[in-house]
């Protein structure tokens, strides 16, 4: 057992913290938000230059050969500064779908562009009634000679408005809309005819899009992995996504806790700083405990990503999402509460963390949904211990 970071990982953490402290002040973030894409191409280029975008890609594709721990470190830093750039959509979701699912030719063509910041990706998976059910795919993929033809509508595609390529899940087989079998994954050039996008701002100031596909024709090399067999890939990447989101939420929580403690130390009411009121001290302590529990589970999720058995991974990810979701709701609500009126305002940082943490929790389903799933799986520990052989 070892919870320490390697020398390189510590360096990554420090470098990133320094960079973002400089590039991502609250005021600068506001400016980035006003740029055409709703985020900064300059920051994106810096992240590419520092090898952040390729941090979990193999060196032969322009990466630095890291893994889930590197992603955790980066996502945690992203959570602390409320990064607007499409790291999660492009690198965590898009990058992993390709790394784990694409063939060598596709990887060689796309991954270096991803690492250098030239290629933006988005994962177009959610549909109007799929909710958080990963196997619920209604978008259709039909073969026509050597081509594929896609029809359907995708919703809430994070950073789908700017992505050059969309990774689109579509049903090419299976018994019904809920079947894990029969789902395929395609690389769709966003400029292709039949692809339409409506981009919008999200509640937490990021960008997303609705995407519709009408008779979109794709050549056979647009298929990622084998036809009808994309579900395990999608699930594994969803797990990467959950671990990453958990790390980001922990970053946001750390900030909320620190900012609240700082505020309690300075705000004076009834002739004393608020930090003198024991009930508020205890609240700050409860927040701290919630952050620590969440941090532990975010690390648990990260370390369980390497687990090959999908059942084990599934339990771990649900467990992490439950703890982190609950912690984050408590920490967020208390952060606002303890700031009083000022915490309710757009001009105060804390509300932006609260909003972002709230929206992050909606990704891949909240604590309640995962509680239900974990319970259905029999909880975290198997009911009967397997007998030794």
């Amino acid at each position: 057992m070892d919870f320490r970071l390697t020398e390189e990982q510590r360096l990554l953490k420090d470098t990133l913290a320094r960079l973002l402290a400089e590039l991502y002040t609250f005021d600068r973030r506001k400016c980035y938000q006003l740029e055409a894409d709703g985020w900064s191409r300059v920051v994106w280029a810096r992240l590419a230059d520092l090898g952040i975008l390729g941090s979990s890609l193999p060196e032969r594709f322009g990466g630095t050969g890291g893994g889930p721990v590197e992603t955790m470190i980066i996502m945690n830093a992203i959570g602390r500064c409320l990064l607007l750039e499409p790291f999660f959509a492009t690198v965590v979701l898009g990058g992993n779908l390709l790394s784990l699912g694409a063939n060598e030719a596709q990887k060689a063509q796309l991954l270096p562009a991803l690492a250098s910041g030239k290629l933006l990706l988005a994962f177009a998976h959610t549909e109007r009634h799929s909710r958080y059910d990963l196997a619920n795919v209604g978008t259709r993929a039909r073969r026509d000679g050597s081509q594929w033809v896609l029809n359907g509508e995708k919703c809430v595609v994070l950073h789908g408005d700017v992505a050059g390529k969309l990774l689109v899940s579509a049903r090419s087989g299976g018994t019904d809309q809920y079947d894990e079998d029969g789902i395929s994954l395609f690389l769709v050039d966003a400029e292709l005819s039949g692809v339409r996008r409506t981009g919008y701002r999200t509640q937490d100031g990021l960008r997303a899009a609705s995407v519709s596909l009408t008779d979109v024709r794709l050549s056979s090399d647009a298929l990622v992995g084998s036809a009808g067999a994309a579900f395990p890939l999608i699930e594994e990447v969803a797990h990467q996504g959950i671990a990453a989101v958990c790390a980001e939420m922990v970053g946001a929580m750390e900030e909320m806790h620190e900012q609240t403690v700082e505020y309690l130390k300075t705000r004076v009411q009834f002739g004393a700083t608020l930090s003198k009121f024991q009930v508020l001290q205890h609240r700050a302590v409860d927040m701290l405990m919630a952050v620590e529990q969440a941090r532990s589970m975010a690390m648990f999720a990260t370390m369980m990503l390497g687990e090959k058995g999908s059942a084990e991974r599934r339990r771990a990810m649900s467990a992490a999402k439950i703890q982190v979701g609950r912690s984050s709701r408590f920490v967020g609500q208390q952060a606002i509460q303890l700031h009083g009126g000022i915490g309710m305002t757009m001009d105060c940082k804390i509300g932006h963390y609260f909003k972002h943490a709230t929206l992050l929790d909606l990704q891949f389903g909240g604590a309640d949904l995962h509680l239900q799933e974990l319970a259905e799986m029999g909880g975290l520990t198997p009911r009967v211990l397997p007998l030794p052989e």
Partner: protein, 405 residues
């Protein structure tokens, strides 16, 4: 003990329901159902419909437009309005300054203001909080210097709800520096059109403009706009805090939202099943309904004047209890709605223009209208446990009731 309303009360309830059904404008109903912010005009329009019916200010004395309803009937009226839902009355006007003027105002003040309050010809705002005086309200610094037959007002208020709509503000200002910080405060009625007043918007985190900063720079307030005695304004403030608190829990609002959640949960699906069939979701909804029922019963108990801990009626302590639980439950309903919206809570639909389309054509489906309001409502309703005496301050009051001091 008997849970039933009397047949007279039931008749009354039906009368109120019929009235609401025929009188709440459809456009306003639609906004309320989808958690959209009401405009000033919406609220004025509704108040004037009520006033035409003679129901604008049921809790006032008859000579000023009140009804002879019993407290139970008044309660039924408010609850039915909240549950319908109809627009909430502007509490600063009909529940705060109106009753205060009736109790403490001069005859001239009553004649001048009360009819216009009932008809909402004047919009009122509450100028209590200041940057340095939130929970510790008595620390307020805005000063009113007496100068002949007027006061000269200087200082700053903050969080003033809808000051940008307001014609008048009721305001606490310091007229003397006494031993205790509660003494030396006066209660003034300030014309918002006076020279020297600047109203600056504060945008809250969900993006709405509801609250403001208000600055006073040598604002002249005629001495006749003092309510009660000079330096005794704290008594007026205390009167406001203890008046008409039976609806503070807003049980009707939560009822309406739970009804709405059930309705929406029938059309949102998970694994091909409507969410309303989802076991866990139903359990949470049911648990919330139990909490709400308990609160409703508690409220009714207080309303019926049952003794609690030797006190009767809505004392400070009972009002605090109702406020804490009411806020908690209202906030919980917004959490459930947010979860129901799920991924569709993501889009920010603050302004229609922000949806941009690749080919300039008609935009694609983005999200159901109600779902785009779920997150802003959740964010905004965090205020429930902060304003009007925060949860912590209410608990302090309850604790004093238990331990003294």
């Amino acid at each position: 003990m008997n849970l039933q309303f009397t047949s007279r009360e039931l008749l009354f309830r039906d009368e109120v329901r019929d009235f609401l059904l025929s009188s709440v404008p459809r456009d306003i109903s639609r906004k309320l159902r989808n958690d959209h912010r009401l405009s000033k005009d919406d609220i004025v329009r509704w108040q004037q419909i009520l006033n035409a019916k003679g129901w604008a200010v049921p809790h006032w004395p008859v000579e000023w437009g009140g009804t002879r309803w019993t407290s139970v009937e008044r309660y039924i009226f408010r609850e039915e309005m909240q549950a319908f839902p109809a627009p909430p009355p502007l509490d600063f006007a009909v529940d705060m300054i109106g009753p205060l003027l009736i109790a403490r105002g001069s005859d001239e003040q009553k004649r001048r203001f009360l009819p216009r309050i009932a008809n909402l010809d004047d919009w009122w705002c509450q100028g209590f909080s200041e940057p340095g005086a939130g929970s510790d309200l008595a620390a307020l610094k805005t000063s009113a210097r007496r100068d002949g037959n007027k006061y000269v007002l200087n200082g700053q208020k903050i969080w003033t709800t809808m000051a940008h709509y307001a014609d008048w503000m009721f305001c606490l200002a310091r007229t003397a520096h006494g031993e205790k910080k509660q003494s030396g405060i006066s209660f003034l009625l300030v014309n918002m059109k006076s020279a020297g007043i600047t109203v600056r918007p504060i945008i809250t985190m969900e993006g709405d403009h509801e609250v403001n900063e208000v600055f006073f720079d040598d604002v002249q307030v005629p001495a006749e706009n003092l309510v009660g005695e000079q330096d005794r304004g704290w008594d007026c403030a205390k009167f406001l805090l203890s008046n008409e608190r039976t609806t503070i829990a807003r049980v009707g609002v939560s009822k309406a939202r739970i009804r709405r959640i059930k309705e929406l949960a029938a059309s949102e699906h998970r694994r091909g099943q409507p969410m309303i069939e989802d076991r866990r979701f139903r359990e949470r909804l049911a648990a919330l309904e139990v909490e709400l029922k308990a609160l409703e019963m508690t409220q009714l108990r207080f309303l019926a004047g049952e003794e609690i801990d030797g006190r009767t009626g809505a004392s400070d302590a009972t009002a605090s209890l109702l406020k804490i639980k009411g806020a908690e439950i209202q906030q919980a309903t917004t959490e459930l709605l947010l979860e129901l919206a799920g991924p569709f809570a993501t889009p920010f639909a603050g302004d229609e223009q922000q949806m941009t389309d690749d080919d300039g054509g008609r935009g694609l489906f983005v999200s159901p209208e109600w779902a785009t309001r779920a997150a802003p409502t959740y964010f905004h309703w965090r205020k429930m446990s902060i304003y009007g005496g925060s949860d912590e301050i209410q608990r302090n009051i309850l604790a004093r009731g238990i331990f003294g001091g």
